[in-house]
Symmetry: C2
Subunit: 260 residues, 2 copies
């Protein structure tokens, strides 16, 4: 099935628990083989941020973190653990909002989200004081996984690393692309295509990688039922040979922030 | 295929051009029949806002609009047509930002988006001065289409009306749900589910209808290649017998706006 018919998202089931050094590409290829399928050019593999972070050893025990004066102050204002506040400060280039309800930060990669991406759920049992940081450079992580998949299969599927994010005016989270290799991030239709009646489309820039990630993260599910990787077919028109600029290409420059 | 396997999105091809009075439910059922398929309980029909608006006669010719002093001032500040500025003021409950680059408004339904949802593309050729307003009450439109689909088929698929929206910190648009009937808008996991290691999930509210809409609008495409309706399968766990509270349930109350 390709774009002319629609799209499909298949869960890659039976993946192991991930830890430092788990070979993500190997596990993706193995999961597909168990399902009697193989990777093809034009496929998109969407991977949950949490397993990329675990494979990259981004788990941190809060007891190992020494909180600075700034972190103690941020923790006091937001009713957080000072060690957690310190990690947020370490991971962020800027704190946009800090209240007990939410700390909204710009991660060093440029993405804006709650707690600079730090997650305290789905850490192994008995490790209650641990949290999970984002990959240091999610676009580089996506490129590395894509290269591994090519090495294993000879195919160049796109790789997207996705995480759940909140929105400014809408409740709840949707999946968004935080690392991208080989997928068009923004399909800029301005002045290129014509609409159904032959006029030039106005100001249409489609956030392709985010649009795919939203439904992929929904399909993955959360918690005990969760499956951290999804194979997307039907979007091959947006899959590229080159890795492309990555997910950071889809971030609004700070000076264009709509809220300044 | 259901959620255990993933999800699928099929384009409902061969729909007619829509105008005032076009029976949307009839056309959806006919498109499915042409594809050799039928609606089932648990399906989700995602429909582009523009065809709902056209069927509801929401096309307005700018020459018929008299601009108030406020509209003339807004047009001057934003380099817009005064008639367009008047329509934005008429459709909005509040203007959040107004510059030549963008007018961000809260539509009377509560949704925040550019130009209060008014679109100047995909209006019939020869009708260059016309624009298309949102449905007056997109949730009511979704409920009415769902009722028509039930009357025609005896099945109760969910109905989602979707439009493309910009985001605060990310470039490009993604589809979002502006009218919903029979689909969980927010899946609130807080304190209910346990994660993979038996701990209670923290602060997880999944924006289900928006997550589905993003990929559905991507699958629809734009312009001459566009197909304005998509059948989504694999999400039946979120489809409800009752119509539910609608898409407005997913809007952040004004007093919780993260940017005030």
């Amino acid at each position: 099935m390709d774009g002319d018919l629609g799209l499909s998202m298949a869960l890659l089931r039976g993946m192991p628990l991930f830890g430092p050094g788990t070979a993500l590409a190997d596990e993706i290829v193995a999961a597909l083989a168990r399902a009697g399928d193989v990777l093809r050019n034009g496929d998109i593999v969407v991977i949950a941020q949490k397993i990329v972070s675990k494979a990259e050893g981004r788990t941190v025990n809060l007891t190992s973190v020494a909180a600075s004066d700034d972190a103690v102050e941020l923790a006091r204002r937001t009713d957080r653990d000072p060690a957690m506040a310190q990690l947020i400060l370490d991971e962020a280039s800027e704190i946009l909002r800090a209240t007990p309800a939410a700390i909204i930060a710009r991660h060093k990669s440029g993405h804006v989200l709650a707690n600079a991406g730090i997650d305290a759920s789905n850490i192994e049992r008995g490790d209650a004081g641990s949290v999970l940081l984002w990959p240091v450079d999610p676009d580089a992580s996506a490129r590395a996984i894509r290269e591994d998949l090519f090495r294993l299969t000879g195919q160049r599927p796109a790789v997207v690393i996705a995480d759940s994010m909140g929105r400014a005016w809408r409740i709840g989270t949707v999946g968004a692309a935080i690392g991208v290799a080989g997928l068009v991030v923004l399909d800029d239709k301005r002045g290129k295509d014509q609409d159904l009646f032959g006029r030039t489309l106005q100001a249409t820039v489609i956030a392709v990688a985010d649009s795919v990630s939203g439904a992929a993260v929904l399909a993955m599910g959360e918690g005990a039922e969760g499956t951290p990787a999804v194979l997307v077919r039907g979007c091959s028109r947006w899959v590229t040979d080159d890795d492309g600029p990555g997910a950071t290409d889809g971030l609004r420059p700070v000076q264009q922030d709509m809220f300044r």
